[in-house]
Amino acid sequence: MRDPIAEKVKVIQPSGIRKFFDIANQMEEVVSLGVGEPDFDTPWHIRDEGIYSLEKGRTFYTSNSGLMELREEISRYLERKCRVSYNAASQVLITVGGSEAIDLCMRAMLNPGEEVLIPQPSFVSYLPCAVMADGVPVIIELREENQFRLTKQQLLDAITEKTKILVLPFPNNPTGAIMTKEELEEIAQVVIEKDIYVLSDEIYSELTYETGHTSIASLPGMKERTVLINGFSKAYAMTGWRLGYACGPEEIISQMVKLHQFAIMCAPTTSQYAAIEALKNGDEDIEEMRKAYNGRRRYLMHAFHEMGLKCFEPYGAFYVFPCIKEFGMSSEEFASRLLDEEHVAVVPGSAFGDCGDGYLRISYAYSLEDLKVALGRLENFIKRLRDGGRQDG
């Protein structure tokens, strides 16, 4: 029989996270720190609007780009929060989560062989999306000594004449790193000079601590060359609603709409109605959740400090990324043994790129009570490793 599978699909590695999920799922009494979604329920007033839209029988398709009212609210929201303005009619596209927007953006923009700069450690989708769009992923390894931020020099070193898109994943999953306005200005300068585009994944934009979020699209000359991707999953605890959006120059968005139209038709209607309510009346919910995350972040950092576990201080998202290099094993081995011996699920840093090896992604999208239990087990494990090490030595 002929091989049914396309070569370019075969070469794509399945997400390393999936493997952990399968193992963890078969165990009992697992305490997880491995989840990449909020522990909060979607605020009730938002769910209520979704329910209301169903009651009213709003069960039809929307326009391909999404409900006009939602696009207008997104436009207002970005103006209010990021000081960048988009035309709701032509520069905003509602997608099925931020993930779809990433895929569409790459497919709309890449010619075969054009390079996509992907800073890692980062979200697992960029690389396969680039490959599926016939692009060539080029990895930029972010370093802990730079607080996992992208530096101007790293960017300059990675750019070739084939470079088309820079993926800018900040606030970052899994490291929790953010980029300040000043640092983004340096990046923007290079981007403009070298005439490349930016895919700015700002899904965690509402979750920054101590300092606010700056969108690279708000910098002079950058709106024209940035596709800003955001969504409702993290800010409003709406992961299951599958709703995100992309904003950018009309010439790019209109092509993305085309792809979206043929593959998806439109984002879920119920979710779109709920999202309008989220944007209109959700600012306080965000604030409350952010305060809770920030408290847990401080708590975790303190706990790691007490355990003597090296960890750079993250200022965004809801992850910490402690370094486990002192134990002399790979992230995967560490995470497997932690799961086996203490029934604690974490995600090995290597799931987010090779340079994530030596780190763990620990999520604090859990109640303090859950965090305490998990940290207790992690501490036992580390103690055992250190004691064992001493005995052997």
């Binding site: 997400s15 996270i17 952990f20 999920f21 963890a24 799922n25 697992v30 997880s32 491995g34 989840v35 990449g36 979604e37 522990d39 979200f123 697992v124 989708s125 999953n173 305060k291 408290g295 847990r296 401080r298 708590y299 303190h302 699920a345 995600v347 799931a351 303090l368 859950d370």
Partner: protein, 160 residues
């Protein structure tokens, strides 16, 4: 800082102060000082326990009573409210806008005991014009806490 401390204490008055200090990015001594100041200023009025009595064998009946009263010259509603809240079986007294004046929350052992309180004590107060008593059949949520809440985390164990 005060409001942040209160937000945590309101949900969990037994929270460890050291832990609270870490969460709020402060130190234990400042937090303890602030709390004791708020106790003195009567901003913090007590540390009670939220109990779902339905799960115990103790019989309890709660009633909400709407009370219409004649306010008194120079004192408004305050003196009649005081007359009412001094009864130990009265849990709460609120002055309410709208169709009636005071909302009295009463806790008794039995329906009969509450009925007795309303007819003998409350209705006979000179400024009370009328009462309407509503018995609580079931408490679903109290002080922001849902009593019958699913505690299970239904998220997948590991997600990107």
């Amino acid at each position: 800082m005060r409001e942040e401390i209160l937000t945590f204490l309101e949900k969990n008055s037994r929270i460890d102060l050291k832990e609270l200090a870490i969460i709020l990015g402060s130190d234990e001594i400042s937090i303890a000082n602030e709390i004791s100041k708020m106790e003195q200023e009567k901003i913090i009025c007590g540390y009670h326990t939220l109990i779902d009595w339905d799960k115990t064998s103790k019989e309890k009946t709660t009633a909400l009573i709407e009370v219409r009263v004649t306010p008194q010259r120079g004192q408004g509603f305050d003196s009649i409210a005081e007359r009412i809240y001094n009864y130990p079986e009265v849990q709460s007294v609120y002055l309410i806008s709208g169709a009636y004046d005071l909302l009295v929350i009463l806790e008794g052992k039995t329906l009969k005991e509450i009925a007795g309180f309303v007819s003998d004590k409350l209705s006979t107060l000179p400024s009370v014009l009328s009462t309407a008593t509503h018995f609580v059949l079931k408490k679903y949520k109290d002080h922001g806490t849902i009593f019958a809440k699913k505690a299970k985390d239904e998220r997948m164990l590991v997600t990107p």
